[in-house]
Homo-oligomer: 422 residues x 2
């Protein structure tokens, strides 16, 4: 039975948090110097465990076992949102490292191969889930050519070149090499804390649909243009925002969420009537029919707003993540481990956040484990989790990994069927 | 009688428009290389007319006559809004140059001293009306120390240093040296065009009151935070925008205008609930009681919105321009000239836009003349005016200048009383 080393786990989590440390959190955008330094450091740790480490063409860091048995891939993403928390994806990355290390030094687990991974750009500084999407073959060179940084527009190609990844091949999933994929993450919400649970067994991951909505009005002088003849694109944006706030609660599902993350008025000067307004809008739900209904409603509201305000409107869907259900047998393995290590302190729950697991699940059997976020805070430098929960989560995931590998682990190539589900 | 040189006027207008040319307009932000090049070019033109040229510590360019008689100051501002029109303030600046030149070469006007000026940063890239406010002694070094560029935050001090103005003294108005101030400008609205008039005699200039309004909510993950517990600062901003759109028409004056020029959501990422929202808001009117009423209403709406949305609100007034009435005798001089040069094609009107004239009027008698803007377009690179109107406006202003100087012009020091009005 694998017993993880709590001290080593916590010190590695804190070590990784030093790359791009910001107040009590981290600022480690994808392909920044801090991000690439942390990926090279991770590669060294994988090597130290005896894994074969390599960084692929989009920055994914893999640590693969030297074994003829199919391995269980464990990890998450290494970069952070801007000025965000020290755990988030980093938690799952260090869990993958610690579990590989624990198995390697535990005699009766040494033959159970663990592979570790740190995905790139799950946070979408350039392309959401870039690393895992590349791994499952869901991204082509043309999309990489088109992509730029969401904050400063820096072309992804240039960022990859600066990061030393130009020309490096991207690693594609070889399903026959893996039993499946496990990912741990902080909940990023307050459900576990509110219900006094310590482990969440993820049942499904919501789909996120995202839109760029642009209103074109008439730019003019804010002092000399009579109110009666204005076509103010900013007023159109505010009108749509209020229409969403009024209408969405009527048509959304019980767990649906929606957010306007950005509003940009052009030219953005105090004495000029905005001629153009751009909004970034998204909604999430775990059920396709709900997502499709909300898609119809937002398009309808944009059209109504355009007519009402006399501004021309454009709506472009920029992201359409499918909701994904986690592997039932893997969920059981996590739940049984939780029942042993934290009796009565675990719960099955959907994930309101997107995760690499929903992408990897297209090719490999996959499941996720959540631990509590203090106050439900996430994507902010104050994000945190109790040390006891950090340790418990890793131990539960290690136990689940053992169960899965003992039951499913076989020489490669003998489970083709199982892997054809995605 | 001064007859301006139409060809020379138009070619100088086009020459000035080459500094920072952008499509059919100009991009000449205050203290940019293009702006400073244009100011040095203007100084050369003033010298060529026989005026004494100098650029002061905030970039104001003065061309002062070598004469013991009190002169009439004529000009406007030389910089442009970003990617804006070729006329705007440049029109009045070149009028000042052309009129000085015309008087110098017209025998019976040669003894009537014209002073020319090109103010700096009326457009407020750093501080609205910086140049004219400095001239009337309404700005101190501390305000200059605090100021930064509205777009990129570059400190004003650094911009002045780069422009070569560090340590250069700022010129203060000496009322005894001037009979008064005349400024010409495009209307920037469609009132003249709509009423088929070619000359506007400005009666008063509106006051512009500007505010920075900030809502503080709770930044959190856009996928895991239930709608019920959100404190979305962006929703608060949109709620206020709609409250303004609903309430202001009920309390505003017949000519009041109001504009939200910028909305910034922080951090501005698609999958993060905005924790902070900042809005730039302004309104204008020519009557103080109306301005005071609107001030009370916006503060009331901000408070209501904060309570309604659970976000903490801050409102800071960043600009409080007093409305200002133009000098009656100067208005008559412009109107009489218009009656001679364009019978029936002139009208008295207030200015919905702010102008340096309202600042200079605190120290000198002042008046303004408007010419039509095609389609009322302003602060946009498509801004334009018929050549015939460009020429007519300059001629009318030259005639008015002659009338004023013949009536008011006397050796310095003998009109102390007249200049104590401001």
């Amino acid at each position: 039975m694998p017993n993880i080393n709590a001290g080593r786990l916590l010190s590695d989590l804190r070590r990784l948090a030093q790359f791009g440390a910001y107040r009590t959190g981290v600022h480690r955008p994808t392909y920044s110097k801090e991000d690439m330094d942390s990926r090279r450091w991770l590669a060294q740790q994988y090597e130290a465990v005896g894994l074969q480490a390599h960084i692929d063409g989009v920055g994914n860091v893999f640590g693969t076992p030297r074994s003829d048995r199919r391995s269980l891939l464990i990890g998450s993403h290494a970069e952070s949102q801007n000025h965000a928390g020290w755990l988030d994806g980093a938690l799952g990355v260090i869990y993958g490292l610690e579990i590989a290390r624990t198995f390697a030094e535990t005699p009766d687990c040494a033959s159970l191969p663990i592979a570790s991974v740190a995905w790139a750009d799950e946070e979408g500084h350039y392309v959401s889930m870039l690393g895992s999407r590349s791994f499952v073959g869901d991204i082509d060179e043309a999309e990489i050519d088109r992509a730029g940084n969401v904050d400063d527009g820096l072309p992804l190609r240039e960022a990859l070149r600066t990061a030393g990844l130009a020309g490096v091949p991207r690693s594609l999933a070889e399903p026959e090499r893996y039993v499946g994929y496990l990912e741990a993450h902080i909940e990023q919400g307050d459900a576990l804390e509110a219900s006094r649970k310590r482990i969440g067994v993820v049942t499904s991951i919501v789909g996120t649909w995202q839109y760029s909505i642009v209103f074109h009005g008439i730019q003019n002088h804010a002092g000399t243009t009579r109110m009666a003849i204005r076509r103010d694109a900013g007023v159109a944006a505010a009108t749509l925002a209020m229409a969403i706030a009024r209408r969405f609660p009527e048509v959304a599902g019980p767990r649906s969420v929606w957010t306007i993350g950005r509003i940009t008025l052009d030219p953005g000067a105090p004495n000029i009537i905005p001629g153009k307004a751009e909004m970034l809008f998204q909604f999430r739900d775990s059920e396709m029919p709900v997502l499709e209904r909300l898609d119809a409603v937002i398009r309808e509201l944009v059209e109504e707003t355009a007519i009402k305000t006399g501004c021309r409107a454009e709506i472009e869907q920029t992201e359409t993540g499918k909701p994904w259900h986690m592997d039932p047998a893997f969920q059981d393995a996590i739940e049984n481990a939780a029942a042993r290590r934290a009796p009565g302190a675990y719960v099955r729950m959907p994930s309101g956040a997107s995760h690499d697991a929903q992408v990897v699940a297209r090719k490999l059997r996959a499941a996720m484990l959540f631990i509590p976020s203090i106050g439900g805070v996430s994507h902010h430098w104050t994000e945190n989790t109790d040390e006891a929960d950090l340790v418990l989560g890793c131990q539960v995931l290690a136990d689940a990994a053992e169960t899965i590998l003992r039951r499913e682990g076989q020489p490669m190539g003998e489970e083709a069927l199982l892997n054809d589900h995605g």
